[in-house]
């Protein structure tokens, strides 16, 4: 598997497809910390959203690296189709590591925060970045490696889903009927609500249950993705 990840990353770097999403991401972070005295959690919340979009984009480009025949060769070299999918996910995770590091350490190094960091704050922030990158992988995979991805409007649909998931809370307030279908989207608000308050409030009672909910959401959706991927590649 590690050699497949190696192959993917080498091929991704040589394709230069990482440049647009990565530069947009860097720009976003630079702008986010233009002014000093930024509140810690909500800034990290904002960079998590940036990760969400960027990783969706990166996932879609990673899945479009190969044409059919190259993909088939890789299926046979790997022996199983699932290995291809999981290898792609691992590759995306490896590719996203520098972005995570940048999002976390840039404000610390430039001393942009108001107040001082504590371990719990860092833990919450890192988890939120990780969770949002998984949301990104989820949406990116759905619209590039399943039957949903072969449609003409896959990019548009991906953007639509991201926008809907981010604005789910407001939509639900606008029309409660929205609740009936919004649960299917990545639970952005469940994560982000812990980062909206001031930096001192941390361990809300709901933190634990929300974490469990997000974890379950991720496990179930990734399992579904494997099924959808296999259905497409059959």
């Amino acid at each position: 598997m590690s050699s497949f990840v190696h192959y993917q990353i080498k091929s991704y770097i040589q394709s230069l497809k990482f440049i647009p999403p990565a530069s947009l991401f860097l720009l976003w972070i630079f702008i986010l910390y233009t002014y000093d005295n930024a509140p810690i959690l909500s800034s990290y919340g904002a960079s998590s959203i940036a990760i969400y979009l960027t990783i969706t984009w990166i996932s879609m480009t990673v899945f479009s690296l190969e044409e059919e025949q190259e993909k088939y060769i890789l299926f046979f070299q790997l022996g199983r189709k699932e290995k291809y999918l999981i290898g792609k996910w691992l590759s995306i995770i490896v590719i996203s590591l520098p972005l995570h590091a940048f999002a976390i350490f840039y404000p610390i190094m430039t001393d942009s925060f108001k107040g001082s960091l504590s371990l719990p704050l860092i833990l919450i922030s890192v988890s939120s970045h990780v969770i949002f990158s998984f949301f990104g992988i989820l949406i990116g995979t759905l619209f590039s490696a399943t039957k949903w991805g072969t449609k003409k409007y896959s990019w548009l649909s991906a953007v639509l889903v991201i926008v809907l998931s981010i604005s789910a809370k407001s939509l639900a307030e606008l029309a409660s009927i929205a609740n009936w279908f919004l649960w299917i989207f990545p639970p952005v608000f469940t994560v982000i609500k812990h980062m909206e308050e001031g930096d001192e409030i941390l361990f809300l009672e709901s933190l634990f249950t929300d974490s469990i909910f997000v974890l379950l959401y991720l496990i179930i959706s990734f399992a579904l993705l494997i099924i959808l991927f296999k259905r497409k590649e059959s």
Binding site: Q14, Q69, Y72, I73, E233
Partner: protein, 271 residues
């Protein structure tokens, strides 16, 4: 042992029936050629056997096996050099570094692509890409080799090299290939499957005929050659005899003829 079995399998892609009512059984060690006109479903059948396609209807059984696949068209856009590509691919299939190097070297020699080793694949000629397509499939020492029109785009010498290589593999490997080339069929495959409009229309075994030489010679007396009674011979006119000998026996027979004082008039391959 059967490695693949299909019962009444159909495959639909985007509403198009690309394969229909396929019933097929492949045993370990067989060499099979699939032929048919363009668009008849050869590539689709190969994909079904290998597992790229699963049936829409009907059922199949596939043994767990290590499969090498040579696609119909080698991918156009690979940025790796041939050397990098082959090494990466071999590692993906789980081969050990030291073992790989030797094997890659030997295939590079056989196919004479040494001078292009550092060339990015996307810039290589069609034939070179095709060679790399074949090498990547053989490198993993597969139990089953699937080749989709392996000879297209290759020059005459390379074609015979591929045939030789496959003959060597055929001893302990199952080989299934699609082809329009008669040579491949006659040199390699005793079993021929013909497809048309997505259906198997014939599935038969042919005996590979042994190559024969025909030797015409003038003989000293008007007699049957005593020493060659074991060989198919006949007098075609006075003092002239025609013998049919297996390709591999020709030298021996020629020697005997000459020793008996015959003069050779003609030696040709029998068609």
């Amino acid at each position: 042992m059967d490695i693949f079995k299909a019962r009444k399998v159909s495959k639909e892609i985007a509403g198009v029936k690309v394969l229909q009512d396929i019933s097929l059984c492949v045993s370990q060690g067989e060499t099979i050629a699939i032929k048919g006109t363009n668009g008849s479903g050869k590539s689709s059948l190969i994909k079904l056997i290998g597992g790229i396609y699963e049936p829409s209807y009907g059922n199949i059984e596939r043994a767990e096996m290590n499969i090498g696949y040579v696609p119909e068209h080698f991918p156009e856009n690979i940025r790796f050099s041939i050397n990098d590509y082959l090494h990466l691919i071999a590692k993906i299939s789980g081969k050990l570094e030291q073992k790989i190097n030797k094997k890659i070297e030997s295939y590079v020699d056989v196919f004479a692509i040494g001078e292009f080793l550092q060339t990015p694949l996307r810039k290589c000629s069609k034939g070179t890409k095709q060679k790399v397509g074949i090498i990547q499939a053989l490198l993993k020492e597969p139990d089953l080799i699937l080749l989709d029109e392996p000879l297209t785009g290759l020059d005459q010498t390379t074609q015979s090299k591929v045939i030789k290589l496959l003959q060597a593999f055929a001893n302990n490997t199952t080989i299934i290939l699609t082809t329009h080339e008669q040579v491949l069929i006659s040199e390699l495959a005793p079993r021929i499957i013909e497809v048309d409009k997505g259906k198997i229309i014939s599935d038969s075994f042919v005996e590979i005929k042994e190559k024969l030489n025909i030797i015409k010679a003038k003989v000293p007396q008007n007699s049957i050659l005593q020493e060659l009674t074991f060989i198919d011979q006949k007098l075609i006119e006075e003092n002239t005899v025609e013998v049919k000998v297996p390709f591999t026996e020709s030298d021996k027979v020629l020697k005997i003829l000459l020793e008996q004082g015959c003069s050779i008039i003609e030696l040709k391959e029998m068609r």
